[in-house]
């Protein structure tokens, strides 16, 4: 199934095989192709290149053509301050500067930057038939605020009639913009109205609902899907937003996803958002991003949920962080790994594995999700299984499937981050990639050689000679002394003639000899029970 179909499926509340992923690439697209935000938003070529690059890098299921809530305002007479790192900002409000609503006209499709944006839309449609395209329009309330400035808030209270007239106009602009985008090939029209977060539900229903409801109906009649975007603390208005009957509600991290899910599904609407934009996507690591994205995916579920950042991604969002979401969305194994790690890691008491791997045998640990359900894990386990006979009992291997808590503890204690991973005597040896047979053998052999050297250096022993009398032991003791002397070694010899001791050791015929080997197993630490068990197993 194409990404475009996946997005539509989610919008229609049908159960999806995979949660669709829609990165809100705005001026971040400029960064991907080394352009400034200023140049980017004023060139169909650059927009096309930037979004195409984002599609190549992030494999999204849907993507906006452009994220710029100033396009309509500029045409209607607002002055813009351009910035190379951000979208432009509105700096003047024509209705405060002597213009009236009667002076304003609905922008046609060749006005201002609409023309180049539509051109970019058409080219993207042709080049990427499998990706859902979002056309973003400025919501009626936000556009009204651009035109009138913050006086709009007081106008609502002091002069409600003129407020209604203004919103009817900005909504009409929105309907035209929606039609332009749909005609150029957008699948979804997103009405972005962040400023509604500043008003109460009653004002929302009084002023915004009547026009927005008409706008969404207009989009539906054109055969396209619609989304209502809001950012900021707008929780109070989610119910009212649903009441405007869009197909989808999209929110940011200021609103809990579980709340939006509940309200949206109750209203038979799809919903989306909520990867944290700055603390996670911009400032976090790819691991942080995957944890946060997975949290959203697990909460959102595979019916009606669209995974997306909360809002427009900052220009300098690290590419690796966005790709981390892609990696997660397309890889169910990765999801399970992140899920297992996330669930267990917080409550783990890490083992002290400093002395792990001090047994005679070399231990090869394969850390997997579960070799039965994860193909890469299965191949890695098989690779290890195949080479161990080569070492004739010297090598022992084990699988640690991290679906179990002990395995997660073990994995974290060895500082293993990826699945699958091979550790040799507690040291990470191969990560993710399955090693060729010869490399694996060489790595194990290297460890055997190291151990052999250590063994020769550290071994000490004691020889107990048992006899009924001291005389009976003398010949044997003489031979032991001669043998050690010839080897240039020293060995402690103890003679035992106490019949009681003989009985304890189960010796019935004398003379007899028992060799005790001493080996340093750990120093300066308290090895865990798990480790000591390994030592004990080695003896019995």
């Amino acid at each position: 199934m194409t990404g475009r179909a996946l997005v539509k499926q989610a919008f229609q509340l049908r159960k999806a095989e995979r949660i669709p992923w829609v990165p809100f690439v705005g001026v971040h697209g400029a960064r991907l192709i080394g352009a400034t935000a200023t140049a980017y938003l004023q060139s169909a070529d650059l927009l096309f290149q930037g979004v195409s690059k984002a599609i190549e890098l992030y494999q999204p299921d849907g993507i906006p053509v452009v994220f710029d809530l100033q396009m309509e305002a500029e045409i209607l007479g607002c002055k813009l301050a351009w910035s190379d790192h951000n979208p432009p900002a509105v700096v003047s409000h024509p209705l405060l500067e002597g213009k009236t609503l009667a002076d304003m006209q609905i922008p046609d499709k060749n006005a201002g930057r609409i023309k180049l944006t539509l051109e970019a839309t058409r080219r993207l449609r042709n080049a990427h038939p499998d990706v859902a395209l979002y056309g973003l329009i400025t919501g009626p309330f936000t556009l009204a605020l651009h035109l009138l400035g913050t006086d709009i808030f007081m106008k609502m209270l002091e002069d409600p009639d003129s407020m209604t007239a203004l919103l009817q106009f900005t909504n009409e602009v929105g309907k035209h913009m929606a039609s332009y985008y749909i005609e150029a090939g957008c699948d979804i029209v997103a009405v972005v109205d962040p400023m509604t977060s500043q008003i109460d539900p009653m004002s929302f229903e009084t002023f915004v609902t009547p026009c927005a409801t008409g706008l969404f109906e207009h989009i539906r009649q054109q055969g396209a899907l619609s989304s209502f975007f809001v950012c900021g603390h707008a929780q109070q208005n989610i119910e009212a937003m649903c009441g405007c009957k869009p197909d989808n509600i999209s929110i940011d991290e200021n609103i809990p996803l579980d709340y939006v899910k509940e309200v949206a599904l109750k209203n038979d609407l799809s919903f989306g958002g909520n990867i944290k934009l700055t603390v996670v996507m911009l400032m976090g690591t790819p691991n942080d991003v995957q944890e946060n994205a997975l949290e959203c995916m697990d909460m959102g579920g595979n019916k009606g949920f669209i995974l997306a950042p909360g809002c427009d991604m900052p220009m300098d969002t690290p590419i690796e962080n966005v790709k981390a979401v892609t990696g997660l969305v397309h890889d169910p194994y990765r999801q399970e790994v992140v899920r297992a790690m996330e669930k267990e890691q917080s409550k783990l008491d890490l083992l002290n594995l400093k002395d792990y791997g001090q047994t005679d045998r070399v231990v090869v640990d394969v850390i997997t999700l579960d070799s039965e359900s994860c193909a890469p894990c299965q191949y890695m386990v098989e690779a290890v299984k195949k080479v161990t006979p080569h070492f004739e009992g010297l090598v022992e291997w084990r699988e640690h499937a991290i679906k179990k808590l002990e395995a997660v503890t073990f994995m974290s204690s060895l500082m293993v981050k990826n699945i699958p991973t091979i550790c040799i005597d507690g040291k990470i040896a191969f990560v993710s990639q399955i090693p060729p047979r010869q490399e694996l053998i060489a790595a194990i052999q290297k460890r055997i050689n190291e151990k052999l050297k250590l063994k020769l250096k550290s071994k000490k022993g004691e020889l107990f000679i048992f006899g009924k009398t001291a005389e009976e032991c003398q010949d044997l003791i003489a031979n032991v002394k001669r043998a050690t002397a010839e080897l240039g070694q020293q060995m402690e010899i103890k003679m035992i003639t106490d019949p009681h001791q003989l009985a304890i050791f189960g010796i019935t015929e004398t003379p007899a000899a028992i060799l005790a080997e001493y080996k340093v197993k750990s120093t300066g630490t308290n090895p865990s029970v798990e480790i000591i068990k390994e030592w004990v197993k080695n003896v019995y």
Binding site: G26, V27, A81, S83, H85, N86, P87, A89, V90, V91, T150, F153, M154, M156, L157, E158, P194, S197, Q198, I199, D200, S203, C231, G232, H233, Q236, D252, E253, N254, L277, T278, V279, L282, M283, G310, C311, D312, M313, P314, M315, D316
Partner: protein
Amino acid sequence: MEELYGKIAHCVEFGKINLASPYPPDMKGQEGADELTKKAIDEGFPPEEVLKKGLVVGMEKIGVKFRENKVFVPQVLMSAKAMSTAMEHLRPFFESGAVKRKGIFVIGTVAGDLHDIGKNLVSMMVKGSGFEVVDLGTDVNGQQFIEAIKQHPGCYVGLSALLTTTMVNMEKIVAEIKAAVPDTKILIGGAPVSEEFKEKIHADFYSRDPQGAVDFLNRSVA
């Protein structure tokens, strides 16, 4: 006397600016914060008490309602307008030094961000609580903040951002200010900002609403 203070506070809380103002509908035709404050001053009430027992009380009440999501920006703006209209009658006493300010608060929207609703709200509420507010406007960079801080030693600083794309500039500005004037206390706020973000960028205080900033400042100067 107390009754008049109560009426002034009520006008501020409900955004009743003056006699002519149509809002709120149930106070139509009544005197507003403007007339009542003038009356108090004319009758010789101590200006400091008019501020403390009248205006500040009203602003605080609306601030708490805003925090509790009982009212939103429009209502707060009406209150602030009532407040600032009334403040005009107190201005001479501030200028003569008869009434002392609690402290100085320097505020601005960070570089790249030209949105000023949030900043203006905080600015008005802090002013309404008896602080002197130095408003640097929008699109303010680190250097401009530092200059203002040096002009007003011991001031508190507020940074606002409305866009996810510009809030990152906060981190840079906080670092610059802390490097230049290490003891400066910096408050941050704005729709995309959070407590977690505050920790990350080493600012001193985050509030999700203006009243939180007012409370923090009042605690700090107490």
